[in-house]
């Protein structure tokens, strides 16, 4: 069944080594990983295991030390930084642990941000921004506010709206609930499940098992290597537990 689905991103024998002066860290060791259309995946692992590094690779934010990243069957090592930026803009949406909203801009302007580099006409933007915010579980009266006038959970919903405003097929989230209370975390996870139902592939990096158990597949990473795929246990999920 999964084999009939389209592969969006494929990591082939990916190694990533960080070098800071003399010290080198092998953050990814021979990682092979596929992201399919419609995926709802959790990547779990302890702190320092290489989750963020893996997400950097999937999100085309960094280049591997060796190995290949195929994006829709294209070898990305041959793409320029500019072409990678375009792919990120159109195909990928990012959600961060600390939201990473720009506080001097309004919520509207924050969500609009990814539409600017590809010069989406202003006339289309208002609709796209509103649609994204509603899809992310936000409320339209936030649009005129500044992010710091909102709660953490609300800010994360704005961040999700920013990630999906261009309607990218893939949404990548790095510890999206790491800075939130349980109630807000639950809302965020439900938002991701919703997005997945609407056709986005969702990859969530987390070290929180209750978050991971909400996903359809769980991959565990340890010391830079993927240890295997696990079935989630829905009864131990954030969604089943609360309220």
């Amino acid at each position: 069944m999964e084999n009939s689905k389209k592969i969006l991103i494929e990591l082939v024998n990916v190694y990533k080594e960080y070098r800071v002066s003399e010290i080198s860290t092998l953050a990814l060791k021979n990682v092979n990983f596929k992201v399919y259309e419609g995926d709802l995946v959790a990547i779990m692992g302890p702190s320092g295991s290489g989750k963020t590094t893996l997400l950097n690779m999937l999100g085309l934010l960094d280049r591997p030390t060796s190995g290949k990243i195929l994006f829709e069957d294209k070898d990305t090592s041959k793409l320029s930084d500019k072409e990678l930026a375009l792919l990120r803009n159109i195909k990928l949406g990012f959600v961060f642990q600390i939201f990473n909203l720009v506080n001097r801009l309004t919520v509207f302007e924050n969500i609009e941000l990814p539409l600017i580099p590809r010069a989406v006409p202003r006339s289309l933007r208002a609709e796209m921004v509103k649609e994204a915010l509603l899809k992310a579980g936000g409320e339209l009266e936030w649009l005129k506010k500044k992010p710091n006038q909102l709660s953490g959970g609300q800010q994360q919903r704005v961040a999700i709206a920013r990630a999906i405003v261009g309607n990218p097929p893939i949404v990548l989230a790095d510890e999206p609930t790491g800075n939130l209370d349980r109630a807000s975390a639950k809302i965020i996870i439900e938002t991701f499940l919703n997005l997945n139902r609407k056709g986005h592939s969702v990859i969530v990096v987390t070290h929180d098992p209750e978050v991971a158990n909400c996903m359809r597949n769980i991959y565990v990473i340890r010391d830079g290597a993927i240890m295997g795929a696990y079935e989630p246990n829905p009864s131990e999920s954030l969604i089943s537990k609360m309220m």
Binding site: T52, L55, N56, G59, L61, D62, D81, K82, A85, L86, R88, N89, I90, G93, F94, F96, Q97, I98, N100, V102, R104, L105, E109, L113, P114, I116, P117, R118, A119, V120, P121, R122, R162, A163, D174
Partner: protein
């Protein structure tokens, strides 16, 4: 279409970024404004005065030369004949000149008295025009300057055919032995000439040479006024005369004076320009410091923008736009203040020592000056923003996912 969308969005983002750190941006803008302020203020004032002075001097005739006897020398007919015999020379006429006091009701004013062939006078000073009367022919008829016949307030005191009583030095056998009064009629009144430098027609009483000799009682010529056929001959005539009359005659070419003034004002202009350049250099450093701080503070934000699809060139453009916007605001501020300053500076007037002439001229704020200043100031933005913008463009997108 899409270019404009992009352009205006980028400008908007830049303005938002600047307004977030308003105090810092304003201080930087003030720093930027100093260069254009100084440049506009000084250049416009210096060039208005220097242009005026050069224009006045050159109006005396590009082909005019005056010779004056040095001490212990008397010009005679032989000298005049020699000068007239030179092939380059169109005309050469001797003149008498002295100072006198004119009674004008209760007031007494100082006037110059200049006895010279009237036709030569008008030929040499092209812009000299008669407003009342005609060039007189009678011995006792003079041509008077505007300030002679009119009071400072503007009302006319002497009309045509009125009699002027001038007190002049009495000269006996080459020495001043006292004073005497002479009376002449007003035969013509000149239009206002404006301040002049070597001769001031406005406060001069012009007489014919015969009248000069007879009324003034001067035996010796005060000098010879020479017109050459073409301005290009001035140099050779001057050097011929200087070598022949080395210690006897002082030879002055008006075009040479204009050249000297131009070169002095060019030097002032250059000094002013280089002074402003140092202000510009300081501004570049200021912009660079401000922008590099701003970029460092926004490392994460820039990383996020990269992650969501902004290219390095776009980030570079955004940061560069911020510094260019600051420099444009600084330029407008500096140019406006410079314009105000220039008017204030020039309204004080400039008194030229010796000639006793006070000029009050509007500063010369030309489109060229504005454009030059503007482009220099935009250069500040480009230069000061270059390194910070480059640094920003190199921030890797992975910093968006780095938390400490």
């Amino acid at each position: 279409m899409s270019f404009y969308t992009l352009f205006f969005d980028f400008i908007r983002l830049s303005l938002k970024a600047l307004s977030e750190r308003r105090a810092r941006a304003i201080l930087t803008i003030v720093g930027i404004a100093i260069g254009p302020l100084v440049l506009v203020m000084m250049s416009s004032v210096v060039s208005s005065y220097s242009d005026y002075i050069v224009e006045r001097v050159t109006s005396l005739g590009q082909n005019a030369i005056a010779v004056f006897p040095m001490e212990n020398y008397k010009i005679d007919g032989e000298d005049l004949d020699f000068i007239r015999s030179l092939p380059e020379i169109a005309r050469a006429e001797p003149f008498f000149s002295t100072q006198g006091i004119l009674k004008r009701g209760t007031e007494e004013i100082k006037v110059s008295i200049f006895a010279i062939d009237y036709t030569l006078l008008f030929e040499a000073i092209g812009s000299l025009k008669i407003s009342e009367g005609d060039v007189p022919s009678g011995l006792l008829y003079s041509i008077v300057g505007r300030k002679v016949s009119f009071r400072d307030g503007g009302e006319q005191y002497f009309a045509l055919n009125d009699i002027l009583t001038l007190t002049i030095p009495k000269i006996e056998s080459g020495k001043i032995t006292g004073r005497k009064n002479i009376n002449v009629y007003v035969g013509a009144i000149l239009e206002e000439y404006g301040g002049a430098l070597i001769v001031d027609p406005d406060s001069t009483v012009f007489l014919s040479p015969e009248a000069g000799k007879k009324l003034l009682g001067m035996k010796d010529w005060s000098g010879i006024f020479i017109l050459v056929h073409d301005p290009s001959f001035v140099r050779s005539v001057v050097s011929t005369l200087r070598s022949k009359y080395e210690n006897k005659l002082q030879v002055i070419a008006f075009s040479a004076i204009a050249e000297a003034i131009s070169s002095v004002t060019d030097a002032i202009g250059f000094i002013n320009f280089s002074t402003s350049l140092s202000a510009f250099a300081v501004a570049v450093a200021g912009v660079a410091a401000t922008m590099i701080t701003s970029v460092m503070e926004r490392t994460r934000e820039i990383g996020v923008m990269k992650a969501i699809g902004y290219t390095s060139i776009q980030i570079l453009t955004l940061i560069l736009l911020e510094s260019i916007v600051m420099s444009l605001i600084g330029a407008s501020l500096g140019i406006s203040l410079g314009t105000v300053g220039a008017h204030m500076l020039s309204s004080r007037g400039l008194t030229i020592g010796g000639v006793g002439l006070t000029l009050q001229l509007a500063p010369k704020i030309t489109p060229t000056l504005i454009l030059q200043t503007l482009s220099l100031t935009v250069m500040i933005g480009l230069l000061g923003g270059a390194l910070p913008a480059y640094r920003a463009s190199r921030i890797p997108p992975i910093v968006a996912l780095r938390y400490e």
